[in-house]
């Protein structure tokens, strides 16, 4: 999902990084690229306009000008704006009432029936309560059959009365649910165009009859600029409480996802990510933004780092790296910082492309870290600053002091040398990850 949009946004952002400084001129060029990327992703034209203006304005703002790394700042600006568009906070379902009534509506072919099956499964898994599916699509050939088959597959009961009046079916299903101990009633409705007055009136009648706490609009994520008309059309008849985006596992670029909330204030609550019955996910704006930018969860990693890492300390180390005179004191302080981040394995997983590099399966023994610390702490401060003076006798003393072997001391010193060379390469800009 979002591969194309992500790639293009990243290209634009890399350009800014390459420029080093953000100027009126280069930001114009990059804004144009971002604009095209968003338009090609079917983001609503008005949203694109606003988005690009906001990014531009913020990028030329004071904070970025002061920043040492304007490129990184720029990335943060783009991402923050994306999260904003996606709705910032996760929106939960309102499951009050016994039974809690949910109604699912949408255009033909958006995936209502499949989604309703997925949603009932998700609810049952999460809350261990009993859902009932209600077949109110009495128009499309075999729609009732489809829901029944899904119900059978999931072992969830389906209420149907054949091709009768959908309003009555809905009403009766609530009674049935009450009498038979169902906790959720999920009502499937027929696909309809938002401009079909008769069918919209039918939805209003169902709404009045069963008063659902949730009215969820199912939207195909491949929808183009017409999405806004569809959403507004439904919303003008029924107070929609949320949207479910389907088929997000296609190579869709997610334009609808980026437009819905901003234009209508209707939160996205779920996204369909596979054809399988467990392929419905709760929607987290933050994570989605990361996905769009193909960042893994690097931003939360950076934020986490921001929380725990001492800025002054980091700056000192950074300057030393620049001068090329990194010593074991710095090595030690870095080690301590890393420890503050928590489990290294989990952090590695947040790196974009972690899977590709095999980082998702790395096992690190926390004792190794403790040993390294012990070895360095057994050195005198002078030795830490001048590791080159460490010869056989000193090494023996350090090994004894830390309870490790001389080989381990040697290994650490070798690793430190490698790291020093690596930072020098980083300075020259030809650093490559060793994996």
């Amino acid at each position: 999902m979002f591969e194309n949009l992500g790639e293009r946004l990243q290209n634009a952002m890399n350009k800014i990084k390459g420029y080093g400084k953000i100027t009126e001129e280069n930001i114009s060029e990059v804004s144009r690229e971002i604009r095209l990327a968003l338009l090609e992703a079917d983001v609503n034209y008005k949203v694109v306009k606003e988005f690009v203006n906001n990014v531009k304005e913020k990028a030329l703002g004071e904070e970025v000008a002061k920043s040492l790394k304007p490129g990184e700042q720029f990335v943060k600006i783009v991402k923050d704006e994306l999260v904003d568009l996606l709705g910032k906070e996760k929106a939960d379902l309102n499951l009050k009432g016994s039974p809690a009534v949910l109604m699912v509506v949408g255009l033909q072919g958006s995936g209502k029936t499949t989604t309703i099956g997925k949603l009932s499964l998700l609810l049952r898994k999460k809350y261990h309560l009993k859902p009932l599916l209600v077949a109110c699509d009495v128009y499309r050939p075999a729609a009732i059959d489809q829901l029944k088959q899904i119900g059978k597959q999931l072992n969830i009961e389906v209420y149907d009365e054949g091709k009768k009046d959908p309003v009555m079916i809905a009403k009766n299903s609530i009674e049935y649910a009450k009498n038979n101990g169902f906790n959720y009633v999920l009502i499937d409705t027929a696909g309809r165009l938002h401009i079909d007055e008769n069918l919209m009136a039918e939805l209003e009648a169902i709404n009045n009859a069963v008063n659902p706490k949730e009215i969820l609009l199912v939207v195909d994520s491949m929808t183009g600029q017409d999405a806004i008309n569809v959403i507004n059309g439904f919303n003008s008849h029924l107070a929609l409480t949320g949207a479910i985006l389907t088929k997000l596992d296609g190579d869709t670029r997610g334009g609808v996802a980026l437009s819905v909330r901003h234009l209508t204030n209707i939160p996205i609550k779920f996204v369909g990510v596979s054809e399988k019955m467990d392929g419905l996910e709760e929607f987290y704006p933050e994570r989605m933004a990361s996905r769009i930018l193909d960042m893994g969860d690097l931003m939360s990693m950076i934020e986490k780092a921001e929380e725990v890492i001492d800025q002054d300390e980091a700056m000192k180390t950074y300057k030393k790296i620049q001068k090329g005179n990194l010593d074991l004191e710095d090595f030690l302080s870095q080690l301590k910082q890393i420890k503050k981040l928590g489990s290294i394995e989990n952090i590695l997983k947040m790196i974009p492309g972690a899977k590709k590099m095999g980082l998702n399966n790395v096992q690190i023994n926390p004792k190794d870290m403790a040993h390294i610390e012990a070895i360095i702490l057994s050195m005198t401060p002078y030795e830490r600053r001048h590791p080159e003076i460490l010869k056989a006798t000193r090494k023996q003393r350090i090994a004894k002091g830390s309870g490790r072997t001389v080989e381990e001391v040697n290994r650490l010193l070798k690793q430190f040398e490698q790291m020093k060379t690596m930072t020098k390469q980083m300075q020259k800009g030809n650093f490559k990850l060793p994996f």
Binding site: D145, L147, A227, N229, V230
Partner: protein, 329 residues
């Protein structure tokens, strides 16, 4: 020099009814689209950068496709410069003209169905999920039945719950025959169906397939296999492979067309659900980028709501309000 005179002459009386349906189906589209274009022309007396920016917005909102729109605007700007056009009103005709050129592009547009010279004609329907493949098959079957053809439907979507039942209901409605099989591989159902078609001398076979997202490699391979089975039984089949695209589809439509073309020999597009507010402009971009023509449009849910696509009528429908006196106001 009214651009529409040339369209109008094209339509003889028999076609009037169809135009009416197009008109009805495209009403919403036209209202939004051309009223905006009119507004634009009354707002700007002179051609300016702002004019072009708003024009770009209108075209993009019609889902015509970003690249297509950008090229279109560039072309327009060039013409404005070369032909020293300053009045916005002079540009109206050029806009319509150029739109027409995008689609036609010096081609002879063939939207007739390619019937087999002997034996059954096989039409395969493919597309992503929920675009309306099964419904389209129902409607085409109805048309063919009206023409007195012997029609067989094959329920090749063995994946989606209820898909087979849906096709059977359509078959009953339009009085066509149908081949289906419980819990079977699509290739096996198609194998049976095509053999039946050959032995029982059917004129046309319409094959339904499961919806598949174009980036699902395995499902696309399944389509390859289906094609192999078809050509094994009837050598030059399928005679038509129609890609069904939902009019609400945005830029993804281009990728759908390209990906399906890689796997199978797509011969045309069916543009469905054009009776909503969606403009289906993506077909212009698809035509420009892949040269795939639209053969049918779906304009409603009834069995009669499928029409042969006619670009002139389509553009006529889109721009109808632009013609005549209301422009001068």
């Amino acid at each position: 020099m009214k651009i529409f005179d040339k369209f109008k002459k094209v339509f003889n009386k028999q076609e009037q009814e169809e135009i009416l349906l197009y008109d009805k189906g495209l009403e919403k589209t036209r209202e939004v689209f051309s009223s905006k274009l009119n507004l634009l022309n009354s707002k700007y007396k002179k051609v300016s950068d702002e004019y072009f920016e708003e024009l770009e917005e209108i075209l993009i909102m019609a889902d015509i496709g970003v690249n297509t729109v950008m090229n279109f605007i560039d072309k327009l700007k060039k013409r404005v410069k070369n032909e020293h056009i300053t009045n916005a009103s002079d540009l109206k005709e050029i806009i319509v003209d150029e739109m027409f050129i995008i689609y036609v592009n010096n081609d002879i547009i063939v939207n007739k169905i390619n019937f087999a010279s002997s034996g059954p004609t096989v039409m395969l329907f493919v597309g992503v999920n929920g675009v309306g493949k099964t419904t389209t098959i129902g409607k085409i079957a109805y048309q063919l039945k009206q023409e007195g053809k012997k029609v067989l439907l094959i329920a090749g979507d063995t994946f989606r719950a209820g898909a087979t039942e849906q096709l059977i209901e359509w078959a009953n409605k339009v009085e066509a025959d149908v081949t289906y099989k419980e819990n079977a591989d699509p290739a096996s159902v198609i194998f049976d169906g095509l053999n039946k078609a050959k032995n029982d001398n059917y004129d046309v076979v319409l094959i339904d397939t499961a919806g598949r997202l174009q980036n699902k490699v395995n499902l696309m391979h399944e389509l390859e296999k289906i094609n192999k089975v078809i050509s094994k039984i009837i050598e030059d089949a399928p005679h038509e492979t129609l890609l069904v695209i939902d009019a609400t589809t945005g830029q993804n439509g281009i990728s759908q067309a390209k990906s399906f073309m890689e796997i199978t020999n797509i011969t045309g597009i069916v543009l469905t659900k054009l009776d909503g507010t969606a403009k289906g402009g993506i077909v212009l971009a698809i035509k420009e980028e892949t040269n795939l023509p639209v053969k049918y449009v779906g304009l409603g849910e009834q069995k009669t709501d499928l029409k042969t696509f006619d670009i002139e009528k389509y553009i006529y429908g889109l721009f109808k309000d632009m013609d005549g006196d209301n422009l001068e106001k």
